[in-house]
């Protein structure tokens, strides 16, 4: 039931919105992992980030894609919880610090074991529009013991302008989606953070919309 709801939701609302209302400049589409277990690690500026990344997938594969999202935000009330869990299929993540590190990623590991593709935002929360926050180490701890899972860095640019934090009016702008090749495994968390940060920086250079916020 919820599988069908997800397909209809993306076919009728999200895909048309992303294609007509926004418009994407996609680079490196062949790097997009179509099979799990895999992790997509993107920068976070707008509510649309998750929707844009999921809309890259064909409808037949959309149920494999699971965004990892903050529990305090996406399980805030009954309606949002229902949509988040049943229509988008998020994996809620507790940011309060009350959960131990082992338990924190339980659901993520289950999903990866089932061959699903996780979408997550290693900065932790949405930053200022078009500004990259510091990458946190959580992602490293999630994948360090998993030989089967590689991390694909993705840079999104322009979405913070189309729908910034706290705004309700969507103004159409083209957005860049640049998908990098999957990362090699790293020795330490510092190594990982430095590595992915460097990847992000070089991907930002490829953005067609990079001049967008300089005036």
């Amino acid at each position: 039931m919820s599988k069908i709801a997800k397909i209809i939701f993306f076919a009728v609302i999200i895909k048309p919105l992303v294609i007509l209302g926004l418009g994407l400049n996609i680079r490196g589409r062949k790097n997009l992992p179509l099979k799990g277990p895999a992790v997509i690690a993107a920068n976070h500026n707008s509510h649309l980030d998750t929707m844009v990344l999921m809309s890259l997938y064909p409808l037949s594969k959309i149920n494999r894609v699971r965004p990892v999202a903050a529990a305090d935000y996406f399980l805030a009330n009954k309606l949002i919880t229902w949509i988040s869990l049943n229509v988008i299929g998020i994996i809620p993540l507790d940011r309060s610090g009350n959960t131990t590190r082992e338990e924190l990623f339980d659901e993520c590991h289950t999903a990866l074991d089932n061959g699903q593709i996780l979408l997550l935002f290693p900065e932790g929360s949405r930053g200022l529009p078009e500004e990259m926050g510091r990458v946190k180490k959580g992602l490293y701890h999630l994948v360090k013991d998993r030989q089967d899972t590689r991390v694909t860095p993705v840079v999104l640019h322009g979405l913070g302008l189309a729908l910034p934090r706290g705004e309700a009016l969507l103004v159409p702008f083209n957005c860049d989606v640049i998908i990098d090749a999957p990362m090699e495994t790293c020795e330490s968390s510092d190594d990982f953070v430095a590595n992915i940060q460097q990847r992000y920086n070089s991907l930002f250079e490829l953005c067609i919309t990079k001049n967008n916020e300089e005036l």
Binding site: P164, L169, N211
Partner: protein, 310 residues
């Protein structure tokens, strides 16, 4: 669905013939030189097939479908332009208002209201946008912001909408119908790009404006000018109310204006240090990369025939 007027039908068939020829040449090239990468050429021709199919489809269906098509094209071009230039986040509401001008402009065209069509963006939107911007109250960068947004609207909506207005002009050449003028300006503008490119490749030596576009040469420009002028002289009487001599002049106008439109958009991209304005059309780049010459040829050709014939 209306019957296609005879002359327009012949020219449309001719265009499809040219595409078939281009596809065959591309296949032969790949067959002959398997080691050379022809991906871009192949994508370019494939995209031409899609663009021509879409255009002919809407032109044949109805005037309304065609107006919606060109309105949508304006929307895509305007969006693309604002996505590459520097803008202020505070101006999002102003840009939203500017977007609303697109359906309104095409509505005036659908009503055949020439007076409103010709002043709406240059006068009313020109005055309205700074008003909306003042209400936001952000003064830092005001001049650049208001200039950028209005220039974008002029280029991608006002100029492009002249193509659409050709459709609602009274028909003076029955054998071409209202779509004849549109096919004429679109074909001549795009063919001019191709001719200037080909002449430049064959004979190109003396650069015209190396700072903006190092590939543009006097030989390419003059070769294109000559070819298009002759071509327009012979095709204009078929598709438009113009005579042979008037057609020759139209050719001169289209070829030189097309060149200017091309290098103006090149300057924009060079200023921003990007190669293409988007990735929507494989092998070509963005919508603006394809519409660049048209933003200049469409209004100039429109007013040329409007002055001569209407």
């Amino acid at each position: 669905m209306t019957e296609i007027p005879a002359n327009s039908f012949y020219v449309m068939s001719g265009i499809i013939g040219i595409l078939v020829l281009a596809s065959i040449v591309c296949i032969l090239l790949r067959f002959k030189n398997p080691q050379v990468d022809y991906t871009e050429l192949r994508q370019r021709i494939q995209s031409w097939w899609v663009m021509i199919a879409l255009l002919f489809f809407v032109l044949i269906i109805s005037e309304t479908a065609s107006l919606i098509f060109f309105g949508f094209l304006s929307f895509l071009a305007f969006k693309e332009f604002l996505s590459i230039v520097p803008i202020r986040h505070a101006d999002r509401p102003v840009i939203f208002w500017a977007y609303l001008a697109i359906p309104v402009q095409y509505f005036w065209i659908s009503q055949g209201w020439y007076g409103m069509f010709i002043v709406f963006i240059p006068v009313y939107m020109f005055l309205l946008l700074p008003l909306r911007m003042v209400l936001i109250g952000e003064t830092k960068g005001f001049i650049k912001a208001v200039g950028t947004i209005h220039w974008a609207l002029m280029l991608t909506v006002f100029c492009v909408s002249h193509i659409a207005y050709l459709l609602v002009l009274p028909i003076k050449n029955q054998a071409a119908g209202s779509i004849g003028l549109v096919i004429f300006i679109l074909f001549m503008t795009q063919f001019n790009d191709v001719c200037q490119y080909v002449w430049g490749k064959i004979l190109g030596k003396h650069k015209i404006i190396p700072k903006v576009s190092p590939n543009k040469t006097w030989e390419g420009f003059l070769g294109g000018l000559f070819s298009i002028t002759i071509c327009c002289g012979y095709v204009a009487p078929l598709l438009t109310p113009l005579t042979f001599t008037q057609g020759l002049l139209a050719g001169l106008l289209i070829s030189s204006a097309g060149f200017v439109g091309d290098i103006v958009i090149s300057s924009v991209k060079r200023d921003l240090q990007i190669k293409d304005s988007g990735t929507l059309i494989p092998g070509h780049g963005g919508v603006l990369d394809r519409l660049d010459s048209l933003t200049f040829t469409a209004p100039l050709f429109f007013h040329y025939i409007y002055f001569l014939v209407y």
